[in-house]
C-alpha cells in the first residue's frame, strides 16, 4: 500500500524531478540559443529577439489569464493591473538591490516578491467579487486595473507618470522563455489534474458543481489568484527586460490584448492561448502601416469571432489531445474503505421554509436509515424539490433542523453537504454539458482526492495514483449505468435517458451514503421505466446507499420504494408503506380532488361489504 501514499519522501522528490525533466532539458538549450544566436553580433538578430521575448511575455500573460477566463469561465479584464503590481514591486526591489547579481538569485527573489504581491492583490479583488454570479468580476477587474494605474501615476515612489528607470536588465531570452515554458507546464498540469476538472465544472454549471462537492467560490478564487501570480511574473519579466516601466503600458488596452489572445486561441485551450499570443504580438509589427486601425481591426475580429466561432479557434481542445488518445494507461483500482453509518443518515425535524409569504415546506420531518428506499410524492408544486434543495443546502430552512450524517447543516454550503455523503440529481438535468461523460463523473470524484494544487503541478506520484483510481472508478460507474460506450462523448450529445443515467453515475461518484434522485423517470417510456426500477434497486444493493426518490410515476414509486411520504402544499399529509398510501383518502384527495376521493372511498367501502 506504500504506493498509495507515494512511497518515501526520496522517491517522491525523485519523481517530481523526473516529471520536470523536459523543463530542465530545455534550459541548456535556451542558454545555448541565447549565447550562440541572440548575443552573436554577427547575425544581427537583436530586433527579432526583442520580438521573440515579447512573445514569451505575452505567452505568460495569455496562458495565465486563460486559467480564469477559459478554464473557470469567469471574465477578468484587468490582467494589466496584476502585471503592473508584479512589475513595479519587483522593479523597486531590483533598483534598490545589489548591483551585482551573478547567479540572479536576487532577481528570482524580486520576481517572486512581485508575483506574490500580485497574487495578494488578486485575492483582495477576487474574494468579494467572485462570490457573485455573472459579470461583476469584469467590471471589478476593469476598475482595479484603472485604480492601480491611477495610484502609480500619483505616487512619486513609483516614478509617477514618467515611470521607473533604469531597472537592471536581468531578464533575457533564456529567462523569459524558461518562465514561459514553466507557465505552460504548470497550466497544463493544473488543467489535467482533478483540480482542472473542478475549474471546468465551475465554468459548465455552478449549481451542479456545488452539488458534486466542489467549493465553487473557493475554486474561482484559487484560479484567480494563480492567474494574478503569473500576471505579476510577466510584469516583473517585462520590467527587467525593457529596463523601464511606465504606467501608460498598463492601460485597459493592454488587458484587452490579453483577453483577445485568450478568446482567439480558444477559451480553455492552453496551446490555443500560446499560439494566439505569438500571432497577436507579431501581427502589429507587420501591420505598422495600419497602426491607427489596429484596435479597430482587433475589435471587429473579436466580434466576428464571437458570432462565427464562439469557442475560439481551437475551442477547448489542445494540440496534444490529438496524439494523446492512443496511449492511455490502465491500472488496478485502489478501494477506499466505506464508513458505515448506523444511525439515521438524514434526520430532518420541523424544517420549514418560506419564500416571502409563501410557505413552501412546512414542519417537514424525515429520517432516512442506511440502505432505505424512500419515495417522496405529491402533486406539482407540493414542495418536493424544495425538500431536496433544503437537504443539499441550496436553501437554508427558515425553521427547524436538518442533520446529514448526524451533522447539523446550518451554515454549510452545498459542497460541504456533498462531502458529508449526500449526493443528488436534478429534475432539469444539470450535466456539465461541454465535458465528456467520463469527465462528468471524474469531476464528482474530486472531493475524494487529497492531492493539493501544488502536488498536481509538481506531478508527484500521489497525483498519478489518484488519477488512475479516479479513471477506474469512473469507468466502473459508467459501466454500471450502461454508459461505457459513451465514455468520450460530450454530455450534451447523449440522448435524454442516458443523460439522466449519467447524472446518477455522477452523483454516485461522490461516494454518497444517501442518493437523492429528483424525478429520474421523467420523460422516459414504459420499458425504460421498468429498467430504471431494476437499476435503482441494484444501485442500492451494489453501492449500499440509501435512496430518496422524487417521482410522479406511481407504478415506479409503488414498485420500488419501501416507504412513501406524501407532500401537498408543503405539508406532509401521509406516510407509510406503499399499500397504506394507495388507499389513504387524504392522498387520493390531494391527487384527484375531493369529489373523486369521496366516490373512491364509497367504492372501496362497497367492495369491502361485498367480500
Amino acid at each position: 500500500m506504500a504506493g498509495l501514499f507515494g512511497g518515501s519522501a526520496l522517491q517522491r522528490t525523485g519523481r517530481a524531478v523526473r516529471s520536470w525533466l523536459p523543463f530542465f532539458a530545455a534550459v541548456p538549450i535556451l542558454i545555448l540559443i541565447q549565447e550562440e544566436i541572440a548575443l552573436n553580433p554577427a547575425l544581427g538578430l537583436e530586433y527579432a529577439f526583442q520580438n521573440i521575448n515579447h512573445i514569451g511575455i505575452a505567452i505568460i500573460l495569455a496562458v495565465s489569464l486563460n486559467l480564469v477566463n477559459g478554464l473557470t469561465g469567469q471574465f477578468s479584464i484587468g490582467h494589466a493591473g496584476f502585471m503592473a503590481v508584479g512589475g513595479y514591486v519587483s522593479a523597486v526591489l531590483l533598483m534598490r538591490g545589489p548591483q551585482d547579481d551573478p547567479y540572479r538569485i536576487f532577481f528570482v527573489l524580486a520576481v517572486l516578491a512581485g508575483a506574490g504581491a500580485a497574487a495578494v492583490a488578486g485575492y483582495l479583488v477576487g474574494k468579494p467579487s467572485l462570490r457573485l454570479r455573472g459579470d461583476y468580476l469584469a467590471i471589478v477587474t476593469l476598475g482595479f486595473g484603472e485604480i492601480i494605474r491611477v495610484i502609480i501615476e500619483n505616487t512619486p515612489f513609483f516614478g509617477g507618470a514618467i515611470g521607473l528607470s533604469p531597472i537592471p536588465h536581468r531578464a533575457d531570452f533564456a529567462w523569459i522563455w524558461a518562465v514561459a515554458i514553466g507557465t505552460i507546464i504548470v497550466a497544463k498540469r493544473l488543467r489535467d489534474s482533478t483540480h482542472g476538472r473542478a475549474f471546468l465544472s465551475v465554468r459548465e454549471d455552478e449549481v451542479a458543481a456545488e452539488a458534486m462537492g466542489i467549493d465553487t467560490t473557493g475554486y474561482k478564487v484559487r484560479a484567480f489568484v494563480i492567474s494574478a501570480f503569473f500576471g505579476g511574473v510577466a510584469g516583473a519579466m517585462s520590467g527587467a527586460f525593457e529596463g523601464n516601466l511606465a504606467p501608460q503600458s498598463f492601460t485597459f488596452v493592454r488587458s484587452f490584448e490579453v483577453v483577445a489572445m485568450v478568446v482567439l486561441g480558444g477559451m480553455g485551450s492552453i496551446t490555443g492561448s500560446t499560439i494566439a499570443a505569438a500571432v497577436l504580438t507579431l501581427l502589429p509589427e507587420y501591420l505598422r502601416a495600419l497602426a491607427n486601425l489596429r484596435m479597430v481591426i482587433y475589435s471587429i475580429a473579436l466580434i466576428a469571432l464571437m458570432l462565427l466561432r464562439p469557442r475560439g479557434l481551437l475551442g477547448t481542445r489542445e494540440l496534444w489531445d490529438w496524439w494523446r488518445e492512443w496511449r492511455r494507461a490502465r491500472v488496478k483500482p485502489a478501494e477506499r474503505p466505506r464508513r458505515e453509518a448506523t444511525e439515521a443518515l438524514i434526520d430532518v425535524k420541523g424544517a420549514t421554509i418560506r419564500f416571502g409569504g409563501l410557505t413552501a415546506v412546512c414542519e417537514f420531518d424525515l429520517e432516512v436509515r442506511p440502505r432505505e428506499l424512500v419515495a417522496l410524492i405529491g402533486p406539482n408544486g407540493a414542495g418536493k424539490t424544495t425538500v431536496f434543495n433544503l437537504l443539499t443546502g441550496v436553501y437554508a430552512p427558515s425553521e427547524g433542523t436538518i442533520k446529514v450524517m448526524g451533522r447539523d447543516t446550518r451554515g454549510l454550503a452545498p459542497h460541504d453537504i456533498a462531502h458529508l455523503g449526500c449526493a443528488r440529481t436534478f429534475q432539469n438535468i444539470r450535466l456539465f454539458r461541454e465535458l465528456t461523460a467520463l469527465d462528468n463523473v471524474r469531476v464528482a470524484c474530486h472531493h475524494l482526492t487529497r492531492e493539493s494544487i501544488a502536488a498536481a503541478v509538481r506531478h508527484g506520484s500521489l497525483s498519478e495514483q489518484e488519477e488512475k483510481w479516479i479513471v477506474e472508478r469512473s469507468e466502473e460507474l459508467l459501466e454500471v449505468m450502461g454508459l461505457s460506450a459513451r465514455r468520450d462523448e460530450l454530455a450534451k450529445n447523449l440522448p435524454y435517458g442516458e443523460q439522466r443515467r449519467l447524472e446518477i453515475a455522477r452523483a454516485l461518484a461522490t461516494g454518497p451514503q444517501v442518493l437523492l434522485l429528483d424525478e429520474p423517470a421523467a420523460g422516459t417510456n414504459t420499458r425504460e421505466k421498468a429498467d430504471l426500477m431494476e437499476l435503482i434497486r441494484s444501485i442500492r444493493d451494489r453501492f449500499g446507499v440509501a435512496i430518496v426518490l422524487i417521482e410522479h410515476d406511481m407504478k415506479l414509486v409503488m414498485g420500488v420504494s419501501e416507504r412513501i411520504l406524501v407532500l401537498d402544499h408543503g405539508v406532509t399529509i401521509a406516510q407509510g408503506l406503499p399499500r397504506q398510501i394507495q388507499s389513504n383518502p387524504k392522498v387520493i384527495e390531494a391527487y384527484l380532488g375531493e369529489k373523486y376521493a369521496k366516490e373512491h372511498a364509497a367504492q372501496i367501502a362497497a367492495a369491502g361489504s361485498q367480500s
Binding site: I139, E146, V150, N292, V296, M306, R430
Partner: protein
C-alpha cells in the same frame, strides 16, 4: 457651508448625467441580464455626433441658439438610437442563446470599435464643444451659491427625461411589455409579447438617453474626445449596481449618490482620487449588499 452647498450643486448636476447613462445599463440588464459595455461609448457617440452636427455639418456652434441646440440634440439622439438598435440587432441578438461570456466579449468588442473607430475618424485629440448658447461661466447666485445655467439645464433635462421614462415604463403598453420580459422572457413571449421588439426598443431608449447625457456632459466640460465615454460609462454602471441593477429608480438614486460622492471627494480630498471613489463604492456594495440599495436578492432556481 457655502462651499459645501456649492459642491452639492455640482454633485447633483454630475449625478443627474450619471443617472441618465445608468438608466441605459439598468434597462438592458433588466431585459437581457447583459452588461452592455458599449453603452458608455454610445454616450461618447452622442457627444461626438453633437459636435459633428454643430461644428462640422453646420455652423451652429459659431452662433449657438436654443433652437439649434435642440435640433443638434435630436440629430444626435437619432444617430445613437440607430446605433443602439444595430448593435443589438447584429451583435447581441444572434448570441442570445449562447453563454453570457460571448455576449460580454462582443459588448467589449463594440465598445472598442466605437472608441477606436471614433479615434480614427475624429482624431484622438479633444475638440471644443459649444452647441448650447450658454457657457459654464454664465452663472447666477442664490444665497451666495453660484449656479451655472448649464448645471441647471443638466438637472432640469435629466429630471424631465426621467419623469417621461417613468411614464413609459410604468404606464404604457410597451413599458408593461418591458417589465414582463425582464421578469421572464419565455412566459412574456407566450403571453403575446414580441420579445425582439421589446429588446430593440429598450436599446433604442437607453441609447437615446445616453445621447442626451453626452450632449449635456460635453456642454458642461466644453469638449469632446473619443475616449470620453470610458470613465463616465464605468461610473454610470457603478451607479446602476449601487441602486440595484435592473431597477430604474435605483439607477437614478445610484447616479445621484455617485455624483455627490465624486464631487465631495475631489473637493475635500484630492481630485486625483475622484475616479477611485467609484470603484471603492462598487467593491463596498458588492461586499455588503450585492443586490444594490433598492434591488431584491434573487436565488437561482434549481
Amino acid at each position: 457651508m457655502i462651499d459645501l452647498l456649492q459642491h452639492l450643486v455640482h454633485g447633483v448636476s454630475l449625478g443627474a448625467i450619471y443617472a441618465l447613462i445608468a438608466l441605459g445599463y439598468t434597462m438592458v440588464y433588466g431585459v437581457l441580464q447583459l452588461i452592455n459595455f458599449a453603452h458608455g461609448d454610445v454616450f461618447m457617440l452622442g457627444a461626438m455626433m453633437g459636435w459633428y452636427a454643430s461644428s462640422r455639418w453646420t455652423q451652429e456652434a459659431a452662433h449657438p441658439t436654443w433652437f439649434g441646440a435642440i435640433a443638434v440634440t435630436l440629430v444626435s439622439m437619432a444617430i445613437c438610437g440607430t446605433t443602439g438598435f444595430l448593435i443589438e440587432r447584429f451583435g447581441y441578438r444572434p448570441l442570445r442563446g449562447s453563454p453570457k461570456l460571448n455576449s460580454l466579449i462582443t459588448a467589449i468588442g463594440f465598445s472598442f470599435l466605437l472608441e477606436y473607430g471614433g479615434q480614427f475618424v475624429f482624431g484622438p485629440n479633444p475638440r471644443a464643444f459649444g452647441a448650447l448658447p450658454v457657457s459654464p461661466s454664465d452663472q447666477f447666485r442664490v444665497l451666495g451659491v453660484s449656479i451655472s445655467y448649464i448645471d441647471l439645464i443638466c438637472v432640469g433635462v435629466s429630471v424631465g427625461l426621467m419623469i417621461v421614462l417613468n411614464r413609459i415604463i410604468f404606464h404604457s403598453r410597451i413599458g408593461t411589455a418591458m417589465r414582463a420580459v425582464s421578469w421572464n422572457p419565455p412566459v412574456a413571449a407566450l403571453m403575446g409579447v414580441n420579445i425582439d421588439k421589446v429588446i430593440s426598443f429598450t436599446f433604442v431608449l437607453g441609447s437615446v438617453l445616453a445621447a442626451v447625457a453626452g450632449i449635456l456632459f460635453a456642454s458642461a466640460y466644453r469638449k469632446v474626445e473619443p475616449l470620453m465615454g470610458l470613465m463616465p460609462g464605468l461610473k454610470a454602471f457603478v451607479s446602476a449596481v449601487l441602486g440595484g441593477i435592473g431597477n430604474v429608480q435605483g439607477a437614478m438614486l445610484g447616479g445621484l449618490i455617485l455624483g455627490l460622492a465624486e464631487q465631495l471627494v475631489s473637493s475635500y480630498v484630492s481630485s486625483q482620487w475622484k475616479d477611485a471613489i467609484a470603484f471603492a463604492i462598487l467593491i463596498l456594495i458588492l461586499l455588503v449588499k450585492p443586490s444594490g440599495l433598492l434591488g431584491k436578492g434573487t436565488a437561482e432556481k434549481v
